[in-house]
Symmetry: C2
Subunit: 217 residues, 2 copies
DNA sequence: GTCTATAAACAGATAGAC
DNA sequence: GTCTATCTGTTTATAGAC
């Protein structure tokens, strides 16, 4: 279409489809809706991505890899354990604020087609492996009650991700506007740290205070 | 169909559709698949339920009400607070074992059609209201770190439900068979209590030890 | 109440013109 | 690269015979 600079069609489709799926929550958006959003003809989606499924796979893989890379960087850093976890929570919640429906999409797609999970979890460096050593040390020092690394990580991720997945239910149940809901998710950063460590989140050593919510590279 | 006793067609459709949706995880089962499962003609689904949507609404409402009723009974009982919570975890996890895809279904449907949530959450007695008094008492006595009733309940439900929603991802990531996954969910009962109260789950005062996993009325 | 046959709507994908 | 037109398959829903 003439309003689009040119030759960026593929990128535009990806960007707009990503927004439709992960930000606006149109998890079942049709190729027509994607095309409309991108301001291009429907056939172009097939020209560039062959099928709707391949487009989705591409988007999902990219988004998951980006998020995982960020989490991995923190967990494998040299920071003290509790700072790692605090930053991990920050990253996961901020990512959830930016792409509120990404987790929803993953859950929906893997439930519909369990084979797809293998693409997403390949070359897997499990978070639990990255913190196992730290965790065992903390437990040995008596700073944490005994727990396996797997359950620790699953607890952490559950506390971060469930409120995203249940967004509609929670918003309705507690009568939250969209902005109130965003605030609620922000507040949960401290709540989650608190639930994990049973002590307040230290006010020091926060990487940044997010003066602007911009977070994606 | 002649193999079915008779006049129970409506009940059979409901039962089989429930199994398809909530137990087997065919969240997008077509009317044809439902009819096949029930061993009836596809047109009968429309005869009894008018449309696929109405069938789904009926199923969802019944399942949610049943689960909520059970949870409510425990939380509004006269039991000590920690026993209530322990039983609550038990109910939610056991319900998850029985209907592994119910929560998935709720999340998917409310994301697709946010209006539907109003049907599910009507006449709402919030769990957080039922335990608020208990919780404040516990906090006043110094037996629990300060937390709002809302966040407390959301933490609790997150820890119970997320592993259900992420079943496919978790199974793949940790190489769990179906039976290993069931065991994993069972184990989480103690993990969750532990995460909430930071003390081991007492071995006494458990309602039953589930000699048979049968749990629905 | 239960079936067959069919309508009606839709979505994904492709061929072929420009 | 981008468009229009069309094909194919799928699914819900209903009309009407039995």
């Amino acid at each position: 279409m003439s309003t689009i600079p040119e030759a960026q069609t593929e990128a535009v489709i990806k960007e707009k489809a990503k927004s439709l799926f992960f930000q606006k929550g149109f998890l079942n958006a049709t190729t027509q809706e994607i095309a409309d959003e991108a301001g291009v003809n429907r056939a172009l989606i097939h020209y560039y991505f062959r099928s709707r499924d391949q487009l989705m796979d591409t988007l999902l893989e990219e988004a998951v890899n980006e998020k995982r890379e960020r989490a991995r960087a923190v967990l494998s850093s040299a920071l003290p354990f509790r700072e790692k976890i605090s930053l991990f929570i920050d990253i996961v919640v901020e990512y959830g604020l930016k792409y509120p429906y990404l987790e929803n999409f993953i859950i929906t797609e893997t439930a519909r087609n369990p084979e797809k999970v293998k693409v997403l979890c390949q070359s897997k460096i499990k978070s639990s492996d990255l913190i196992r050593k730290d965790l065992e040390e903390e437990i040995a020092k008596g700073r944490l009650l005994p727990i396996t690394a797997e359950h620790f990580v699953i607890n952490l991720i559950s506390l971060c991700n469930y409120p995203l997945l249940a967004k509609t239910v929670l918003q309705n149940m507690h009568g939250m506007s969209d902005t109130a809901y965003r605030k609620f998710l922000q507040d949960r950063k401290e709540i989650i740290y608190h639930a994990i460590f049973h002590e307040p989140l230290p006010r020091i050593a926060r990487k940044e205070e997010h003066p602007h919510p911009k977070h994606a590279k």
